[in-house]
């Protein structure tokens, strides 16, 4: 498996990367960790005459936590997410989810930016970002703009990002909500059969807020307003969980693949969502 030849660009700043994108248009793509793109190039399913390696761009690195706002550079790896105690304190669900992505080697290279920007419905971070109500900072020739993770995904591999923009940062609020990232997969290294991120806050004995999103259960990540609504104000008892699951299932549209047919995925999704809610509630 050998990719077609390409020109390799390694700009040291965003302007440099943007200028290659502007010059080559569709013929250019940015490379973050490479663990989605490089296999596609090796299989010759992705044709990339100009590859722009972002690793030298310092502003894309680092995790900053400032007054309750978490800013993560696009080139921050899953490994860095896992080992950051500050991030764990600010949003513990990040570590829990990142540990369930791929395997150790892939996590050393795989980045949050690549994971959210690629638009692969199998990736875990997009759903998680919707759960956290994150914003994505996009930079293009006309400057920067911010978009919400919940609005970002249009279809499989289709996002709101313009081809000539680079996703530079991910921003979300730190959260003390009860959290859970539940994922069923066939083995380490597999995508989810079904996965669910849940954040729940408590007011006395009732749910004050809930945020439920799902991975690999549609061609885009799914944030379920209806599921949230079904939980808020309840004691998160069995009936409430059941109602939330029913609502969430209304919002997904899984497809058959080697993991199983739709009927199975719908059922498993229901179980995984319920478990995520119950575990998040137990931590709220």
């Amino acid at each position: 498996m050998i990719p077609a030849a390409f020109e390799y660009h390694r700009p040291s700043d965003i302007a440099g990367a943007l200028s290659v994108l502007a010059e080559h248009g569709d013929d250019a793509r940015v490379l973050a960790g490479g663990h989605s793109l490089i296999p596609m190039m090796k299989l010759r399913m992705a044709d990339v005459p100009h590859l722009i390696d972002l690793q030298d761009i310092d502003v894309l690195k680092g995790i900053k936590i400032d007054g309750g706002t978490v800013t993560i550079g696009a080139m921050v790896t899953q490994h860095e997410i896992i080992v950051s105690d500050a991030l764990f304190a600010a949003a513990p669900i990040m570590r829990e989810a990142a540990l369930q992505i791929a395997d150790p080697q892939v996590r050393y290279m795989g980045t949050i930016g690549g994971n959210v920007a690629n638009g692969d419905p199998g990736n875990d971070m997009p759903g998680l970002m919707q759960c956290l109500d994150a914003s994505f900072v996009l930079e293009g020739a006309d400057g920067t703009r911010t978009t919400k993770a919940r609005d970002f995904y249009e279809a499989a591999y289709m996002t709101e990002r313009d081809d000539e923009e680079i996703l530079t940062h991910i921003v979300f609020d730190a959260t003390t909500a009860g959290y859970a990232y539940e994922k069923q997969k066939r083995k380490i290294g597999d995508y989810a059969t079904a996965a669910c991120a849940a954040l729940i806050t408590k007011d006395g004995d009732t749910v004050a807020s809930a945020s439920i999103s799902m991975t690999n259960l549609s061609d885009v990540p799914v944030f379920s307003e209806a599921a949230n609504a079904a939980l808020v104000g309840t004691t998160c008892d069995a009936a409430a969980v059941k109602a939330a699951v029913a609502a969430a299932l209304e919002d997904i549209d899984p497809t058959e693949d080697n993991r199983g047919p739709v009927e199975f995925k719908m059922h498993v999704a229901g179980i995984i969502i319920a478990r995520a809610i119950e575990r998040a509630w137990s931590r709220a």
Binding site: M1, I2, L43, D103, Q184, R186, G260, H267, V268, I271
Partner: protein
């Protein structure tokens, strides 16, 4: 005070039979200094790469290589037309069929080799593959063997539909053979009259051995000397040499085949692949070495698969549970070409071991081989020839019979085991089991796991589930297997006419160390360690002083290679026998040196001693030295020997396995709580290596039972071409195993050893599968097919109403 060297010390110093000697291979492997075929880089070496068919069945209307040839650095693009004048566009398979080397007019499976690009490096070769323009006209695709037998579509247009095949008459143009063993009428009569009859159909899905190192070779034609050298991933290098000679017309002494270190084989590397033939041709044409190494996708999509057996069984019994008869029919999907690697006279391998470990008075087996638009193969993946299928079949039939009789399957097995005193036992389907003590092994296993306690716990869990207190259920998987390995006696076992003996040659050096060479080839089994142990015990020279070499046909004696757990039963026997030849000569030398009659000395660990006067002795070191420096009347100088061993019978290792599994009925996720494996492989050469083999074989069994599958869609597209979808478990999915053993030596093997590498796979698959199925038995399950991946387990739960 002088340190006394005791006899025990001398025995220990030998590092012979029975000790957990550390492996001599590991020094190079742990330092990254193994030598695998892709490590070879010869000056001027070219790279070969295949253009492969995207279609499962299509006519080729044109192949245009102009653009590829125009690419700088491309040396040649071979198609069937180029190979035809050499008669190499097709090649014989090990099963008596023939296979296209490069597509000749049509393609018959997705991933089939269409053209072979030869270029200066892998990058250019890969680009050139993209530039070869092939036009296809799609043909109807058949992926189901039953549909194939009814279809008007002729898959193999090269065959005369009315002419018999290699194994007798063919019933249909897509039929390959019918193979029958046993007494069908007699069996049917018994079954018709029986108190109890259980019937079941089961599919043993298609899978793949998938060694971590894919297949490959380097061919180097030295035109100056007229010698062809072929290095490659060959489990049977000597056979490859013979085949290469027959195909190419190059005399066999001018061909050297070398298997360097091999990164796992598991049956995948027994056969001859188009890549080898094309590399040889390309090297002959260009006069420089040519390397071809497949990638993982090519490995999974085009090299030999395993299993794909549709099995239907009927088993009858008395009211007391004594089995009276067994009927088995198999529809075997062989894919596009019959490229099974079985001994010639056994087109379904040793499937007729399907009466298992049980005393079944009458039985019948019929197998129909069928062509489909799937990759060729049908190799024995970590098992002797089709034994995994046979053992799975009988161990499921036992469970189904137990369900039919509403009885415990452990007890049903016990009632029907062949008794110790019945060995050697002649089975209804023609095998002579050499030795066994099944009841002892079974009792030991059941006691070790507290079987009764487990059943009690399971019953409590069922009740708890029914009360809604838990959503997990518990399965207890049992299996008792008898393997048949060590093929085999030349009288009935051959591959391409070559009898399945094996060999060992040894030279003792003057200073008392030695080199021995064998006709087998290790792919991780540790032969360099364990064969030296056999020899050490036979000749009294420390294993540490014996070098073992295999795999170079210029130096090693002819042998049939390593697969079907045959290395220890056959080559290991040759090693013992060659040791005995050395010892016989050493005895004469010792007697001469000690000035006594030959009969007055006897062998003792590492020396010959004068009978009754143990202080008078000559060590093997002293004897070796004398062999080279003293003129001994009537004895040739030197100390070396060769032995070719034709085994009188197969060996029959056996074992008892128990798996305890939890199943989450809501998600279909199984969790292995415990796995106990008792193996009886006869005399144990190296317990550490045996345990390692068992851990590995069980893990491959876990994979096959719980998800590993080569699956196709209706268009013949392979859906499982990468390791994302083809299930190879990681350390995270695999449990720790408890190993145990009994020792029932083989009466006909020189040291009583039986072979073990494949037992855990053969016994493991039904054990894991039975655990899944047993968990659902209290809820009405009878049989569900493997692989038991999450969704199929979930479906079983769903079908049984457990989600209601």
């Amino acid at each position: 005070m002088k340190d006394e060297v005791t006899r025990d010390d001398r025995v220990a110093n030998l590092k012979g039979l029975g000790c957990s000697r550390k492996r001599v291979e590991d020094a190079r492997f742990t330092q990254g200094k193994g030598n695998y075929v892709d490590d070879m880089n010869l000056p001027g070496m070219l790279t070969g790469d295949f253009v492969r068919s995207p279609y499962a069945h299509a006519r080729i209307t044109s192949i245009n290589t102009d653009a590829a040839m125009a690419l700088d650095g491309v040396i040649a693009v071979l198609t069937a037309k180029d190979l035809e004048p050499l008669g190499l566009h097709w090649m014989p398979t090990l099963a008596g069929d023939k296979q296209m080397v490069l597509a000749d007019g049509k393609v018959l499976f997705q991933g089939q080799e269409v053209a072979f690009v030869v270029a200066k490096d892998r990058y250019i070769a890969s680009d050139a593959v993209e530039l070869v323009e092939v036009e296809y006209e799609e043909l109807p695709v058949i992926v189901d063997p039953f549909a194939s037998m009814k279809s008007d579509v002729v898959l193999r247009e090269d065959l005369d539909p009315t002419a018999p095949g290699a194994h007798g008459p063919r019933k249909h143009h897509n039929h390959i053979f019918t193979w029958e063993v046993g007494d069908e009428d007699g069996t049917n009569a018994v079954i018709d009259d029986a108190d109890i009859v259980a019937e079941e159909s089961m599919y043993y899905h298609r899978t793949h051995p998938c060694p971590l190192e894919p297949c490959g070779c380097v061919a180097s034609m030295d035109k100056v000397n007229g010698k062809l050298t072929l290095w490659g991933t060959f489990q049977a290098p000597h056979v490859v040499r013979t085949v290469a000679s027959l195909l190419s017309g190059i005399e066999e002494h001018n061909i050297r085949v070398v298997s360097p270190d091999i990164g796992g084989g598991f049956g995948n590397k027994v056969g001859v692949y188009p890549g080898y033939v094309c590399s040889i041709v390309a090297s002959i044409v260009t006069g420089v070495p040519v390397k071809w190494v497949e990638d993982r996708m090519e490995n999974l999509m085009s090299t030999a698969f395993a299993r794909d057996y549709w099995m239907t069984g009927k088993i009858s019994a008395t009211k007391e549970g004594k089995i009276t008869g067994l009927h088995c029919h198999v529809t075997a999907d062989h894919g596009a070409f019959d490229a099974c690697a079985d001994p010639t006279k056994f087109p379904a391998g040793f499937m007729n071991i399907c009466t298992g470990s049980y005393d079944i008075p009458i039985a019948y087996l019929g197998v129909d081989g069928v062509y489909t638009n799937k990759a060729p193969g049908g190799v024995s993946y970590r098992c002797s020839f089709r034994v995994t299928e046979a053992v799975y079949f009988i161990e499921r039939m036992i469970e189904v019979l137990a369900i039919e009789m509403n009885m415990d399957s452990a007890e049903l097995r016990r009632i029907n085991f062949i008794k110790k005193e019945q060995f050697p036992y002649n089975s209804a389907l023609g095998w002579e089991y050499d030795s066994g003590d099944y009841h002892t092994a079974w009792d030991k296993a059941l006691k070790a796991v507290d079987y009764e306690g487990l059943r009690k716990e399971q019953a409590e869990r069922v009740e708890a589930f029914k009360r809604g207190e838990t959503r997990t259920i518990m399965g207890i998987g049992l299996s008792f297997f008898t393997e048949i390995v060590g093929a085999g006696p030349v009288k009935n076992c051959d591959i391409l006419g070559m009898g399945m003996f094996d060999s060992c040659e040894i030279r003792i050096h003057p200073t008392g160390s030695a080199i021995a060479r064998l006709g087998t080839i290790s792919q991780g089994q540790g032969h360099a360690t364990t064969f030296a142990q056999i020899l050490a015990s036979e000749i009294g020279i420390s294993a540490d002083s014996i070098t073992i070499e295999e795999g170079d046909t210029d130096t090693a004696p002819y042998g049939l290679g390593t697969y079907g757990s045959r290395s220890t039963p056959v080559a290991g026997a040759a090693a013992a026998m060659v040791g005995r030849k050395i010892r016989a000569k050493a005895q004469m030398i010792a007697a001469y040196l000690l000035e006594v009659h030959d009969d007055d000395v006897e062998f003792d660990v590492d020396r010959f001693v004068v009978k009754g006067a143990p202080e008078r002795f000559k060590t093997m070191g002293e004897i070796a030295y004398a062999a080279y420096n003293q003129a001994i009347p009537g004895i040739e100088p030197g100390l070396e020997a060769v032995s070719y061993y034709d085994p009188p019978n197969m060996t029959y290792p056996f074992g008892a396995y128990v798996c305890v599994m939890d199943i989450d009925v809501d998600t279909g996720v199984p969790t292995i709580k415990r796995f106990y494996a008792l193996d009886d492989c006869g005399t144990r050469i190296n317990p550490m290596v045996i345990e390692g083999q068992i851990h590995g074989g069980l893990t491959e069994a876990l994979a096959v039972a719980l998800g590993q599958e080569i699956a196709y869609d209706d268009m013949g597209n392979c859906k499982t071409g990468t390791l994302m979808d083809f299930f190879l478990p990681t350390a995270w999915e695999v449990p720790n195993y408890e190993t145990d053993h009994t020792v029932t030596p083989s009466p006909h093997h020189p040291i009583g050893a039986k072979g073990v590498g494949e037992s855990p796979h053969v016994g493991g698959v039904p054990c894991f599968s039975n655990a899944v199925q047993d968990a659902f038995r209290p809820f009405g399950n009878r049989h569900t097919n493997m692989p038991h991946d999450h969704w199929r387990i979930w479906k079983t739960a769903n079908d049984l109403g457990l989600h209601d």
